[in-house]
Amino acid sequence: MKPAASIVVFTTLSGAGYGLLFWLAVLRPAGLVPQSAWFGVPVLLLALALVTAGLLSSLLHLGRPERAWRALSQWRSSWLSREGVAAVATFPPAILFGLAMLAGRDGLALVFGLLAAAGAAATVWCTGMIYASLKPVREWHLPLVAPGYLVFGAFTGAALLVPPSALAGRGAGVALLAAVLAAVALAVKRAFWAAADAAPAPAGLASLTGLGRFGTVRPLDPPNAGTAYLMREMGFRIARAHAARLRRIVVLGGFLAPALLLAAAAAVPGAWAALPALPAAAAALGGMLVERWLFFAEATHTVAAYYRG
């Protein structure tokens, strides 16, 4: 599948933003991050900025972005519509969460924060289900896809929460959590790769043409001499050649390096913890961009078989 930059950026940024929102709302009442509004409100604004930037990026993928509001209507059947509804529904409690923090109303902040956290988790789950529900894509129609999106959002969000917490002198707990999440995310990603590599093709050319009864089926002449939308969109093949190297980059740069830096941040006292925490957050986000690009570039669609056998 063609890795559209708009979707790679969207899922990475909004995943991290929702993860950050989730952990701020959950860890604040637990006392693991600073309680003051001077900490909470800027972090919340950063989370909402990431989410909004991601959602705006997703509009760039649309042929008719001015009609995007129509995507909120078919939540009964469509995971994409559900994602849109959940994303929009998460904003009001998130904004009220911020206002409650500003007003110093901890009870209200707890309630709205948890509502926003639930919305954030629901939105990221819907994002994962958009891909997991597509039967024609061998590497996506797998049980680990949607949980993966949740874990990666939780990991990048937690990694982003560490630098500000460290600067405020309360980074140790969050850093430890983020380091553990990095390890969990790596385990999930490796299990996903194993499952995706072993997954059988949903249908081969023999079945897609109905000609299997005669033996193997081989493409002889394509329907068009040049290229076509389906070949560009479903027949992406650049990544295959570099897949192994890119996977190593994801493992080392996106998971292991941040995990070590975050463990270091947990060990360093006070604001100095921000020194390893900042590159950890940057590596987590950068690694996630590569991971997301690979998620698309490595995915194969049944339609490609019509052209390539």
């Binding site: 995507a71 469509s78 597509l134 949903p202 290229t227």
Partner: protein, 245 residues
Amino acid sequence: MTSLPGTTGRKLGLVIDLDTCVGCHACATACKSWNGSGMSGPLSDINPHSAGIEGVWFNRVHSYEAGEGEGSRTVHVPRSCLHCETPDCVTVCPTGASYKRAEDGIVLIDHDICIGCQLCAWACPYGAREFDEPEGVMKKCTLCVDRIYNQAMPAAERVPACVSACPTRARHFGDLGDPESEVSRLVAERGGVALAPELGYAPVNRYLPPRDPRRFDAAPAKDPAPLPSQIQNPLLRWLDRVLSR
């Protein structure tokens, strides 16, 4: 609504005879011609007069080799929307632009609502939906819904453009939900198949498999008799004509 109708009154679709299809692409060009100026139009082309030409087509004719040695054959497979009974392309649509008609089962797109997210193209395993980039919306086979019910056209022409264009009559249109219909009888008689039924979308269109050439006498002809024009002697030519009666 992108929820599917429980059952459809009729199941209109195509039956394509892979035995008689000669791969001439007349169906594809007739489709492009009709639909480029009809309710789906335009079917945009990019770089139509220069290198890198590509465009939107509802029907694409692939050619394949199947089997090995004497049993092998070249088969042309026209690929278009199969108007599935349970299509994911409809249910994944976030806007309600994609729908399946309850009365005849035709799967259509409302181009005034489509946002061009292309998720339906990802959801279709058969590649039936294409993105019209200049228009910013998805396009697909309508089963020529603007022909088959068109009272302004002579009754004989109320079939999809691809069916009327086919020079070998390899394409048939009808109600596959009615076991007594001509197309259903054709499917039963020739053992018509659905494409990749294991994916679970219950395609309506059927493909009639190529006949087995080994069933016919494929033995090489014996020393053939000379043609009358090849006989030089007029007497013998006359005798040949008399004896050939």
